[in-house]
Amino acid sequence: MHIELRVYTGLEKYVGVRHGEMTTVAIDGTLTIADLLHRFDIPPAEVTSALVNGRHKELDYRLQDKDRVSLFPPVGGG
């Protein structure tokens, strides 16, 4: 199975993509969002929100085939 991953605002360097560019990730067996971060060496502290198909999910969520995952780092200034 595979998922679609998009990352934003500084996380691009870990995944090797441009801002918001979709990349397909192949998955064997079960993979949580935390495992996904580990696979790309993304420090969990750099992800403040993970959305799957538009909805907030915790890091222990088990990814399903064709899930659309978006990862956002902390951005809080004004």
Binding site: H19, T48, S49, G78
Partner: protein
């Protein structure tokens, strides 16, 4: 006030020419009220454009005073304003820009105690704060009082905007559940280009006016996220979460 004065016809000509605005829309803006929370990098341009557009009553809430390091981005404040309360500095400029705009100053931080009362006095709220605790307080207050809440946040050369209509789409905590870790870097460490909050705030002001006039499509169920370094603007679908602590089925409202 049922018609525009000759001076107002002239001042707002380029507003009233817009599709769906006309004299009627302009009169509606003159009878509208908006609360801008934060008179900094986001609040300065947002308040400027709202005052210029002829919002009749504009609340500005901020407990801080103007500092030298604010001036590279907080364009409501001038060098001579250093040391003055930001709300006073802001009010001077906004009233000078447009005497039609009645500016109400709230020289205080927004807290869980005062937020709902403050928010309830306005038609719409602009999130121009610089921290998540304040944003979460405002998110809740706007849900409780059923006020539209236009969120933005920036860092470095990146930012995002999202419009929250209570019960019609996700709230801030549907999408951003917890504040960033205390170790997360801020604009103090990573910097922020002044035009970055300017970009986000111009989108906020556009959303506010669209909401007040019932025009177009709002950023509801959509998060606009941009990176000015890549100059990339993306729209991400965001959905309401029934487990949301603020607006979900178990929320205490």
């Amino acid at each position: 006030m049922s018609t525009l004065s000759p001076l107002q016809e002239k001042r707002y000509h380029r507003n009233t020419q817009l599709p769906g605005v006309g004299d009627e829309g302009q009169l509606k803006l003159l009878q509208s009220s908006v609360l801008v929370v934060g008179a900094g990098g986001l609040g300065s341009p947002a308040a400027y454009y709202l005052a210029a557009a002829g919002i009749g009553r504009l609340g500005i809430a901020d407990g801080d005073v103007v500092e030298l390091s604010n001036l590279q981005r907080q364009i409501l404040h001038f060098t001579a304003d250093i040391g003055r309360p930001k709300v006073m500095s802001a009010a001077d400029k906004l009233v000078a820009l447009n005497p039609d705009c009645h500016v109400v100053t709230h020289h205080c931080a927004v807290t869980a105690e005062n937020a709902a009362d403050m928010v309830s006095q306005y038609d719409l709220v602009i999130d121009a704060t610089d921290n998540f605790p304040s944003r979460f307080v405002l998110n809740k207050a706007c849900l409780v009082t059923n006020k539209p809440f236009i969120h933005a946040a920036v860092l470095s050369m990146a930012g995002r905007v999202m419009t929250i209509l209570p019960n019609q789409g996700p709230c801030l905590r549907c999408v951003f559940r917890e504040p960033p870790a205390p170790s997360a870097k801020t604009t103090f460490e990573l910097g922020v280009l002044g035009a970055t909050p300017g970009l986000a705030a111009c989108i906020q002001a556009s959303e506010a006016i669209k909401y007040l006039l019932g025009l177009g499509d709002l950023l509801v169920n959509r998060l606009l996220i941009f990176d000015a370094l890549a100059m990339s603007f993306e729209v991400v679908e965001v959905l309401r979460d029934t487990d949301c602590p603020d607006c979900g089925s178990g929320a205490q409202i």
